[in-house]
């Protein structure tokens, strides 16, 4: 008996096709709930507007603190949506179906994290020039700021995937998730805001950007394995 023909699922689906399917499905789910997409962006806008109100309305002062303000705002805003990375799938049972799909769980984690970054981190990066302008940041600094934020939010998504996977079994895991992820995100803040600061002062930014890129590479190679192991434990 030709088993593959009798039971077509046994032939399986390639990793690339599976990755594309998961990313597509997660993006589709996000766009079905536009309010959840907008919330972190609005949060980012509001938090960064609070700083001028609390500090000073003087544009020269704001320009000096703008890299830090942008970075802290972006970090906190991208934390908001991290909790949902695995939780909604775990609650309705679709995470089990994913794990049993015969696809590598590491690949599933990579796809879900990338999809999450596209709707959270990348969206934050896209709106950041607006806020930067409002804070008086010169346009010449934008390239560095955008590059550092893109690398930083992606790294944060990888770190967040570990945190989200570790807390997926907990009823109210989001505070614990922040407590796990924020300390790990400190180097990102230091180098990310540092790179933008140096660009503001017209100094070379390559050192800080390379460090950010290496952190991003480091987390993107290790985090999927750690998060996959945590998901497997959470399902037990």
């Amino acid at each position: 008996m030709n088993d593959v023909q009798a039971w077509p699922a046994e032939a399986g689906v390639g990793a690339g096709a599976a990755l594309a399917l998961i990313v597509k499905r997660d993006l589709c789910l996000s766009f079905r709930r536009p309010e959840q997409l907008l919330q972190p962006l609005v949060f980012f806008l509001i938090v960064t507007t609070l700083f001028p109100l609390g500090l000073s309305l003087e544009l020269s002062t704001l320009r000096e603190v703008s890299p830090g303000v942008l970075w802290v705002g972006a970090l906190l805003a991208s934390l908001l949506s991290l909790d949902a990375l695995f939780r909604s799938d775990a609650e309705d049972g679709t995470l089990e179906q994913l794990v049993l799909s015969g696809q590598d769980l590491t690949l599933i984690v990579i796809a879900k994290t990338l999809a999450h970054w596209l709707v959270s981190g990348a969206a934050l990066v896209l709106v950041s020039p607006l806020i930067a302008l409002a804070l008086g940041m010169p346009v010449g600094v934008f390239a560095t700021m955008l590059a550092s934020l893109a690398l930083g939010t992606l790294t944060l998504s990888w770190l967040g995937a570990i945190g989200a996977a570790l807390t997926v079994g907990l009823r109210r895991g989001n505070v614990l998730l922040s407590l796990i992820v924020l300390p790990l995100a400190m180097p990102l803040l230091i180098f990310g805001a540092g790179a933008t600061d140096r660009a503001l002062a017209d100094l070379s930014t390559s050192g800080a950007l390379y460090l950010l890129a290496s952190l991003c590479l480091f987390t993107s190679t290790l985090a999927p394995f750690a998060a996959a192991a945590a998901v497997r434990i959470a399902l037990e």
Binding site: P8, A9, V13, T94, Q97, V99, G102
Partner: protein, 206 residues
């Protein structure tokens, strides 16, 4: 047919914390057979299904698929099984067809028309393009059943599949199980409901 073909659960022990849930459970299911797992609440019926499909690792004992420990052939074994958990495992924001296209698409390339046919077969054709959150519990169960069919897997692991089904649904499920066995498929059904024409029964005791 070799004697090892099919599913074998060999003296599986599982503890949940201090509780010894599965105490050396053994069973075998061969192609064309249907095993009905019964027992009072809390005797580990769902735990047994989760151990078989590999979501839960047993402390002792092993599960074998065609003679090989499933731990070792995990990916290919999981491609051979369709697991329908107690929850229908559907995304409320996606339509029935989108839900199926996604979970089935991870296991095998599948076309929309094919999925429509499976949904028609389980009596959920009228619900194709509705977001699943608008469906009743019984309708969701029918969509989940269509997924089991669409996966075209050799081994079915069904956890309380009769829940929320009306009389027509119950008859349909029995018919589908008979068809699956006719193709040489294996099925393991956890149910309080009477399952017709079973090959064997496994009673789990407290």
């Amino acid at each position: 047919m070799s004697s090892a073909e099919g599913l074998a659960v060999d003296r599986v022990h599982v503890w949940r914390g201090e509780r010894h849930v599965l105490k050396g459970v053994s069973c075998t299911v061969r192609p064309g057979e249907l095993l009905h797992v019964r027992g009072p609440n809390g005797t580990g019926k769902t735990t047994l299904l989760r151990v078989i499909c590999g979501l839960l690792r047993p402390e002792q004992g092993e599960v074998r698929w065609d003679g090989a420990p499933t731990e070792r052939v995990r990916a290919s074994f999981q491609r051979s099984l369709a697991y329908a958990s107690h929850e229908p495992a559907l995304k409320g924001d996606l339509t029935a067809i989108e839900n199926l296209a996604f979970t089935v698409g991870l296991k095998r390339p599948v076309r929309r028309t094919e999925l429509e046919a499976f949904l028609r077969r389980t009596g959920a054709a009228a619900l194709l393009d509705l977001p699943v959150r608008m469906l009743s519990a019984g309708q969701r169960r029918r969509v989940a059943l269509a997924r089991v069919l669409a996966l075209e897997s050799k081994l079915w692991l069904l956890d309380e599949p009769y829940t929320n089904l009306d009389a027509g649904g119950v008859a349909l499920l029995s018919e589908l199980l008979a068809e699956h066995r006719g193709r040489g498929g294996l099925a393991l059904v956890v149910a309080h409901h009477e399952v017709p024409a079973v090959s064997d029964r496994l009673e789990l005791a407290a």
